[in-house]
């Protein structure tokens, strides 16, 4: 079986991936500015003053696609799967997968309520979302 693709963290995203392994979705907060993805500085004003917060896990569906042609051998067994962009309650968008729903276009409504879950990629947990 082909190995799963694991995320390769950069120093600023170590906390993000460690959080995922503990079942948490962590976001960077600089003052009142929340951002995704994690960076060394705030995209708003370059501040280095970072705080990490735990996201509520609530999100809505921003858009999606249903993948029929695997882009890489390690996803052959997953097709068809739902790749998506979700909007977190905290106001930022992130790419993810939608699970626990039959991957047919008519089952997915943009704006539908979702909640956080996790799947495993060879020992690294990935934040995913499922119908709330």
């Amino acid at each position: 079986m082909t190995e799963k693709i694991k995320p390769i963290p950069q120093p600023e995203s170590d906390k993000y991936w460690e959080g995922a392994n503990k079942g948490k979705l962590l976001l960077q907060k600089f003052g009142d500015h929340i951002q995704f993805y994690p960076r060394a500085v705030s995209t708003k004003d370059g501040s280095r003053d970072v705080e990490w917060i735990e996201a509520s896990g609530k999100a809505t569906l921003y858009t999606f696609t249903i993948v029929h042609q695997p882009p890489h051998p390690s996803f052959v067994d997953d097709i068809p799967y739902i790749a998506a962009i979700v909007t977190l309650e905290e106001g930022v968008n992130m790419p993810t997968r939608i699970i626990d729903i039959d991957p047919e276009p008519e089952n997915l409504t943009l704006g539908m309520d979702l909640k956080l879950d996790f799947i495993d990629a060879d020992g690294q947990k990935l934040p995913v979302f499922k119908p709330a």
Partner: protein
Amino acid sequence: MKSLRKSLSGKAAIVGVAESDKLGKVPEISPLGHHAQAAHNALEDSGLSISDVDGLFTAGYSTYDVGEYLGIEPTYTDSTIVGGSSFVIHLAHALAAINAGYCEVALITHGQSGRSDRARNRGGGGMPADQYTSPYGIMGPPINYAMAARKYMEMYGEDRTRQALAEIAVSTRKWANMNEKAYFYDKTMSFDDYHESRWVSWPFHLMDCCLVTDAGAAIVVTSIEKAKDTKKNPIKILGVGEGHDHGSLISQMPDLTRTFGRNTGPRALEMAGLDYKDIDLAMIYDSFTHTVLVTLESLGFCGPGEGPDFVANQVTAPGGSFPLNTSGGGLSYTHPGMYGIFTVVEAVRQLRGETGERQLDKCDIALAHGTGGLLSSTGTVLLTSNN
């Protein structure tokens, strides 16, 4: 040319310099982190702010990824990479760009974790942001562009979007059927063929997606003076525009239904002193049928959501009122991975009258437009065969 160079001497100034926060052994900061810290430090040194920056230069990453990381949407972008000298060369380019009016505030960035491990493990596909997509199987253009298409369908209607995509696929194939060099020269496409082609990443059928071929192309440009000594009718560059608003992560795109063509199209037209109705031919990068649809709207040929009406009834096909992608495009002629150059090659040939069976009766002004990355960057040029 010598006198032109001399006239640039002293005509731009460096106003800020800085390093990143910490040098030496800094395993806690990524290469892009160094770019970003240094950028903010240099801006502080200058008294200017990040919102003043309209020209971005870097080497090692694409400027669209540095731009995305920093939140900059430049209208002059330069990722020239020729090794360590690149950044000095960027200064030479900045001098020219500023004096050409392409940008006013140039930011040149650099950052590397040469010592720490991270520099050698830059994400699944080589880009740091891949960590947020590759593990999910979000890889490659079809999946990403398909998400943009689904958003468009939500806003403007699934059925009419579907019809628009079909119109673009079918009309482009008709042009390819008149181009001997086209991959699908000998293969026609009906509307049924389009709708019945297999799903790649819903809502994309196979026939919504460009080819993957082997190919190359090149362009030679010179001064108006030297052009007089060349073989064929010189094709003048009347207007240009460039830039990007995100990089390798499509979820960072401000509006999935509107590309940076919203900036480069009007900018190129303004520079050229032209209006949309002056354009005889549009060569629009067709990585996907959907790319053409959103690009027509973003450039301003029609308003948001009006694209499906704009391309209806095969008006973009041979004999139609809006000639589009007359080579057969990335969809049906060729597409090796990056395709933009081919839009220019066909535009020039049509303007010169060299395209034989598919030659337009009238072609004096052409627009060539490229979209790069994940709907990330755009470049627009207006060309003419008029003297």
